[in-house]
């Protein structure tokens, strides 16, 4: 039937096997939990490819830093020093406030909020496939990275780690279509859930009743209710509200604070596990 195949199964049979295998893979990946482990192995296996692919960018940015003029370097240095000074000033106040807060919490009998460990990681690759918003980080299980760890940058929450290899890991961004995060409207304290849409500059708030108190420009911060993201980190700003009464829910979109399509460095957070246990026992 197929003169091109002198040996082996016919083209149609091959297609049939390929379809069967890929459908099996999809079902395993989507509907079982074992795929997280499998993905971690696969991430480790393809990480050399990703290192090679990110080489041109690394070389280019390296070269541009190399040829940056002395003047500009000095200016940047000044700017950074000023920022550091201002931030360490704020930090002193923060430490004082934190102590006070802990004391007050002790008085109230609730667990003190302590700061977890942190680690800076560099972004090796950003995927902008519309159906998967993920980044690859240059830190893996050798550095103590674990699955479901939140990642942030200086502006807000970015996403969470989903699979870990020995020297690299993969994180899902909040704009991915499969990602949802529990948030709180800072002004009113109402808890909401935000889903990714597969677009860099917006997320969607789901299942909001028409009567909810929400305004353009409201800040959305993490609520900590999902048990993965620590409480109180900024995530997004409400920028579009559509009041269409024919719809069952209010249509609200928000713009993430973090510039998700041009991340270079991220901060990995370690949640305080002792704190969670203490909280559960209460």
């Amino acid at each position: 039937m197929n003169p091109i195949f002198e040996r082996g199964p016919s083209l149609r049979l091959r297609l049939f096997f390929a379809l069967l295998l890929s459908i099996g893979l999809m079902l395993i990946d989507r509907y079982t939990d074992s795929s997280t482990q499998l993905r971690s192995y696969l991430t480790a296996a393809v990480s050399p490819l990703i290192y090679v692919a990110s080489l041109p960018q690394v070389i280019l940015t390296g070269a541009s830093e190399q040829f940056m003029s002395h003047q500009r370097l000095l200016a940047e240095n000044d700017q950074l020093r000023e920022r550091l000074l201002r931030q360490s000033g704020n930090l002193q106040r923060l430490e004082f406030l934190q102590q006070e807060n802990n004391k007050l919490r002790e008085l109230l009998g609730s667990a003190p909020v302590t700061e977890g460990q942190r680690l800076v990681a560099e972004v090796l690759a950003v995927y902008s496939h519309p159906f998967s918003h993920q980044i690859v980080l240059n830190k893996g299980s050798n550095d103590g990275v674990t699955e479901f760890q939140p990642i942030i940058d200086e502006l807000g929450i970015l996403g969470q780690v989903v699979s870990v290899g020995p020297t690299s890991s993969r994180a899902l961004l909040i704009t991915d279509t499969t990602h949802a995060i529990s948030l709180r409207i800072e002004r009113t304290g109402v808890a909401v859930i935000a889903e990714g849409l597969g677009q860099w500059d917006r997320i969607r708030l789901v299942h909001l009743p028409h009567s909810i108190d929400i305004q353009d420009g409201d800040r959305l911060v993490t609520s900590g209710l999902d048990g993965r993201f620590p409480e109180g980190y900024p995530v997004a700003r409400v920028n579009r509200i559509q009041r269409d009464v024919s719809q069952p829910f209010l249509q609200v979109q928000a713009e993430p604070y973090a510039q998700l399509d041009r991340i270079r460095y991220v901060l990995l957070l370690w949640p305080q596990t002792e704190l969670d246990q203490q909280g559960d026992s209460d």
Binding site: I4, F5, E6, R7, L11, R12, R14, L15, A18, L19, L21, S22, I23, G24, L25, M26, I28, D29, R30, S35, L38, R39, L42, T43, A45, V46, L49, I50, V52, A53, S54, P56, Q57, L124, A125, V126, Y127, S128, H129, P130, F131, S132, Q134, R170, T177, T178, L197, G198, Q199, W200, D261, R262
Partner: protein, 160 residues
């Protein structure tokens, strides 16, 4: 059966295409990035269907799944189907002019994106945006040049 010659050239070109697919780029450029792996694969299926066909397509598609982070098997399935169409009609398509070929490749790319969207919609519930179809256009425009380049490579290294 002919002896395989220069088969490593095929794998090397596919590997390069995969690297091109995940190379970091500004978001504006990324929107228009052609599906390099699929285009290179289509060339080899067209030129040497007994060396590269559905098996190769499945493996390359699976690698794309792993690299890009889509649900495992989505790209593998779409690659296999597109490679099947190409392999089953390779004798006809070879005789087309380069313009006709480009249009046909455009159709295959559209089929690929449709399959990917359809499967992703089923599995993860994504929404369709017309922006997703830019790679079809750029892929169609890139095909004549890629075809010319890979044919030179194939003749240079006498891949059979």
């Amino acid at each position: 059966m002919q002896r395989a010659k220069g088969i490593s050239v095929i794998y090397l070109s596919l590997l390069l295409a995969l690297i091109l697919m995940v190379m970091p780029m500004p978001a504006m450029v990324k929107l228009f990035r052609p599906d390099w792996a699929l285009l290179v694969l289509l060339y080899w299926v067209l030129a040497l269907p007994f060396r590269a066909n559905i098996g190769t397509a499945f493996v390359v598609g699976f690698l794309v799944d792993v690299l890009v982070g889509t649900v495992l098997g989505v790209n593998a399935l779409a690659f296999s189907v597109v490679a099947f169409v190409m392999a089953a009609n390779h004798q006809k398509i070879r005789n087309f002019s380069i313009l006709q070929q480009s249009l046909l490749v455009g159709l295959l790319l559209a089929l690929y994106h449709l399959l990917i969207f359809w499967l992703s919609h089923f599995l993860t519930g994504v929404y369709f945006l017309p922006d997703y179809l830019w790679p079809v256009l750029t892929g169609t425009l890139v095909w004549p040049w890629l075809f010319w380049l890979l044919r030179r490579v194939r003749r240079q290294f006498k891949v059979r």
